[in-house]
């Protein structure tokens, strides 16, 4: 069996203030694996420890304890870094360079011998739609353009693993869709992608697996299918609902949401038949009856609100 692309076993990170001795636990016993070829989302509210985990993964900071590996190597090992493309949360750059020069700089650092580096850079700039601005100094770029450039530098050298911290941050809806399509294309090429994002609807569309952390603790990890198959309720939409009938169906544990021209009723699958018959008998016109599928956002908010972290 191939070594997983990323391994985290019991990773802890405690930040200690230099003076005063105050300790802040950023990560507590974080364990997960990301298999090769998988697109994995790393989710959590602000301050959950996502960027800290990614920094450990890249070898920028050291874990206080626990074991972490990238392609079987210690984080920060050049053999691992040769296979990684990384986009930091706030991609910083040399403002006096233009996009072409910055990518040349990063390509030289990557140490890869390319037959035609100029063509490779030109292709990448077309891919992220910066080809028309390649001569402009990066200091004059908008937030979205900088983010695109950050993605281009992460893709340099055809990495096997992409670690993307908020890849769609700062992008407009069209830009977000382009990044989404790009990630899907990379997924089709068999790349491993580990990304963090706050835009859960996008994560739902592109990721195979989700890891949720909160306040430095693991809350949940599972496939997208597992995450979305949580809801065991059905939604019944009717044209109207008499007051007396509302009281009765609420006794079945149903929830009612009135809208201007219809009423939404949610109830557990076990009660769907009884409820539907009750509504027909009560003179309501049942417009639709559909199994409810919770969105990733619902699951995420529920898990975080439940206080998965102690």
């Amino acid at each position: 069996m191939a070594t997983p692309a990323i391994e985290f076993y019991g990773v802890n990170k405690i930040f200690q203030r230099r003076f005063g001795g105050v300790q802040i636990t950023a990560l507590s016993n974080i364990s997960f694996e990301v298999a090769r070829g998988e697109v994995c989302a790393f989710l959590g509210p602000n301050g959950a420890g996502k960027t800290t985990s990614m920094n450990i993964l890249m070898g920028f900071i050291y874990a206080s304890s626990g074991r972490s590996r990238v392609f079987g190597y210690q984080p920060g090992d050049v053999r691992a870094k040769e296979r990684i493309g990384f986009l930091p949360e706030n991609f910083a750059f040399y403002r006096y360079l233009n996009a072409e020069k910055l990518l040349q700089f990063h390509l030289r650092l990557s140490g890869r011998q390319m037959p035609d580096p100029a063509a490779l850079i030109a292709d990448l700039l077309v891919k992220v739609k910066l080809d028309t601005y390649k001569g402009l100094k990066i200091g004059k770029y908008s937030r979205g353009m900088v983010q695109r450039l950050g993605i281009a530098q992460a893709l340099l050298g055809d990495p096997e693993l992409l670690v993307l911290d908020e890849p769609t941050s700062g992008l407009d809806p069209a830009g977000r869709k382009e990044v989404r399509d790009l990630i899907l294309a990379l997924k089709a090429e068999g790349k491993t992608i580990f990304l963090s994002s706050h835009i859960l609807s996008e994560v739902e569309q592109i990721c195979d697996r989700v890891i949720i952390i909160d306040r430095g603790h693991m809350v949940r990890t599972g496939t997208m299918r597992e995450m979305l198959a949580e809801d065991n309720r059905v939604e019944i939409i009717v044209d109207q609902l008499p007051e007396e009938l509302e009281q009765t169906i609420k006794e079945l544990g149903a929830s009612v949401e009135r809208e201007p021209h219809r009423v939404r009723i949610a109830v557990e699958i076990a009660h769907k038949r009884a409820l539907a018959e009750m509504l027909w008998a009560g003179g309501c016109d049942v417009i639709s009856l559909t199994p409810m599928k919770s969105s990733l956002e619902d699951t995420f908010l529920k898990l975080v609100a439940e206080g998965g972290a102690p």
Binding site: F60, V78, E82, Y94, L109, S110, G111, G150
Partner: protein, 269 residues
């Protein structure tokens, strides 16, 4: 272990390029040029006032002025080396550009080596430029240098490499402004120690010898007398040991900087 020579060279050239756009360094250099021009002005006055009757007296004024200018060039070079080294690392950490750079297959020591070489490249340009100034001053002083060119290039460069290495070591743990404060204190102590060394008890002299960079040892002033602008007899073994001392001190500081940098966090906590 495969050393990323290309990566080190890339970092060094990029660092050197960033110095040429660094506003603080450009401001320092502009101020320095202004001061040099101001100091050359009285020199030219003395020169123009020189006649057969006061030639000896005027020559004394001129050579004194030249000596002061050369001391200033040396002091400024040391400060420039220290600031460039501190800023080159601190600016990358502060702006966060270090993250994208260190995500590349690059070891931490290679990054630091690239930065250090970038500083030395800047100082090499400075030394060459100052060599031109030195010859100009000597000509104004009515002297000509009878010395090997290499000594005027290598000695200052080794001296600056010491200050750059100390600064790089300090900036791995301290703010660059604080680093400059410590560097100025070190420079002052080093000067004081050089002139009062014989009065210091032996038990204190040895540790001070080890800790303080004795840059007077790697100063061309040891064998170059400005009032004569000629080379005093100086055996090659003395050159060798003096330069070896400077390089050894710089290397020790650089290795300590690598040791500390290897363990520190690159991301802002």
């Amino acid at each position: 272990m495969k050393v990323g020579v290309t990566a080190i060279r890339t970092i060094a050239l990029s660092t050197f390029g960033s110095f040429l756009r660094n506003k603080v360094i450009l401001l320092f250099c502009s101020l320095f040029v202004c001061i040099v021009l101001l100091m050359i002005s009285p020199l030219l006055t003395f020169k123009s006032m020189t006649n057969a009757a006061n030639a000896h007296q005027m020559q004394g004024f001129i050579l004194n002025e030249v000596a002061e200018l050369m001391a200033m060039v040396s002091g400024f070079g040391s400060l420039l080396a220290a600031w460039a080294a501190a800023d080159s690392v601190a600016a990358e950490m502060k702006s966060g550009t270090i993250l994208a750079v260190m995500a590349r297959p690059l070891r931490r020591w290679e990054f630091l080596a690239g930065k250090y070489l970038g500083v030395l490249l800047l100082m090499a340009v400075y030394v060459v430029a100052m060599l031109g100034l030195t010859f100009l001053l000597a000509w104004l002083g009515g002297q000509s240098y009878h010395t090997s060119l290499w000594t005027l290039l290598v000695y200052p460069l080794v001296r600056y490499s010491i200050w750059a290495a100390i600064s790089m070591l300090l900036v791995t743990v301290l703010h660059p402004i604080l680093v400059m404060g410590i560097i100025v204190i070190f420079m002052t102590l080093s000067e004081v120690f050089a002139s009062t060394s014989s009065h210091i008890p032996p038990w204190l002299r040895t540790p001070v010898h080890v800790i303080l960079p004795l840059t007077n040892l790697v100063s061309e002033e040891r064998f170059l007398v400005i009032t004569k602008a000629s080379l005093k007899p100086f055996p090659w073994t003395n050159h060798l040991t003096a330069l070896a001392y400077g390089l050894d001190y710089a290397l020790a500081c650089f290795l300590l900087a690598v040791f500390v940098f290897q363990r520190r966090s690159l991301a802002r906590d």
